[in-house]
Symmetry: C2
Subunit: 277 residues, 2 copies
């Protein structure tokens, strides 16, 4: 496995490479990332994993400085997973000058996670565009845990005519149901015990929707109240149309229950897709 | 020469093509466009010329509907010029769904032409991004007549890490100095006679700057007054730094005098680069 730090060297290495698979990460890798690598391997001959903590997608009061940088441990995991190239550029390699041109994401980027993280998806779409242009992958794999991000990346690819196939990886969970995330490492033991409740609450949302006794808004607000009483600060609990991410209507068959909530200083997100058969 | 109307067919044709040169146009071609084709031929083995009147870069009160569509005549000129492929997609081929994600250009896009054409450069940058992703050229040639556009395209390529070399083509002029433009065809005979005055006025600006007797702002406003008295509606006359497009300071060596002004309903633009030796 090669570790490459510069765009020029990466381009040279990939110049005549066919069938490239890309997994973009911010490092601090867990089994969820390795699952994405394995999906990429099924479709590609050369797997590139980028590790870059992208300042453009962090708000001023967010955890950019605290975000765990664990390059050596990450590289060991990626080598064991059969990755060909780790691309680990510095901030000045990706942003040699201020990024005064950005991707303006669609209106949906202002809702859900975007409502509490203004500018986040513009930062994501911009850095992913750059990485796509640097690596020129045939396939890129993104996790469903970041459901809204996946939605926006699919829009990016389709609306900008990028010749890249986007593959979605299922969310990998701890035994108690907590979705794997680099940010789980911020949780203290009591918070870690409580953290499983987010995925459980979303399961209750799904069950309630299927029972059809309560309206979507009622289910959302009752679930928010339930988590709030348990000490969570809830950003949103929302039932949405899987294909558009717009608020679900009772006509929609393919839905997704999404949630974002904070335990102490740690913000967790999760979602469950489901069908109204 | 092939004329291709769909993205799928174009991709198939270019799949194993090396060394592609692209000239993006809105059709109604003149000698200025052919000059760009000739520049592309010097560096590429396969020349693609796109012809697409991009609705996204026209304001609501602009000349989108009136813009001349002359595909047959254009193709004859391009065949004679040795072009390999004309890409002439329909509006629904380029925008099968509403373009809800766009390129947000840098602040300079709000000045000069952007001040009187809000959203114009976002539309330009977005469609050029799409065409770059569809054609994947090695070289793309843009004319210096659209100096601000060229500046923004260079920023697009550099800030989004596009592996494309941008080549700039000199402005081609009529015998009386009028910069060639598809919009010159809108001028009535009296306006056509007067139109040469824009390039002459910009030459006077350059001479005045070199003489160093008047300040830049004075030169700009005197030239604006001069054209206004002759019946022009002046959008701007501006002396700028060639490298940043910011208002020039007396320290700058490489300057450009830019102007945009209307004769009747026709908006003309022009510019002259010059050095303060």
């Amino acid at each position: 496995m090669q570790i490459i730090y510069t765009i020029a060297e990466l381009r040279l290495r990939l110049a005549s490479q066919k069938n490239i698979g890309l997994v973009t990460t911010m490092g601090n890798l867990h089994a969820g990332h390795i699952h994405l690598v394995n999906l990429a391997k099924q479709q590609s001959d050369c797997i590139v994993v980028s590790i870059f903590v992208n300042p453009l997608q962090f708000g001023v009061n967010e955890d950019l400085a605290a975000y765990p940088r664990t390059l050596d441990a990450d590289c060991k995991k990626l080598e064991a997973a059969g990755v060909d190239i780790v691309f680990a550029p510095s901030e000045s390699e990706v942003y040699p000058t201020p990024q005064t041109m950005t991707i303006l994401p669609p209106a949906i980027a202002e809702e859900l996670c975007g409502a509490s993280r203004p500018g986040h998806f513009a930062g994501v779409a911009t850095v992913v565009s750059k990485l796509f242009n640097i690596v020129r992958p045939d396939v890129a794999v993104f996790g469903k845990k970041d459901f809204q991000q996946l939605f926006i990346i699919r829009q990016l690819v389709s609306q900008f005519n990028l010749p890249i196939e986007i593959v979605a990886g299922e969310t990998i969970r701890e035994e108690d149901g907590l979705a794997m995330s680099s940010r789980n490492g911020y949780l203290n033991p009591a918070e870690r015990l409580e953290a499983q409740r987010l995925s459980r609450a979303l399961k209750l949302v799904v069950d309630a929707v299927k029972k059809k006794k309560l309206g979507f808004t009622e289910i959302e607000s009752q679930t928010t109240q339930y988590l709030t009483q348990l000490g969570w600060i809830v950003d949103y609990i929302s039932i949405r149309n899987q294909d558009t991410l717009l608020p679900a209507s009772t006509d929609n068959q393919k839905l997704v229950a999404l949630g974002a909530a904070r335990l102490g200083r740690t913000r967790l997100i999760d979602n469950i897709e489901f069908d109204l058969g």
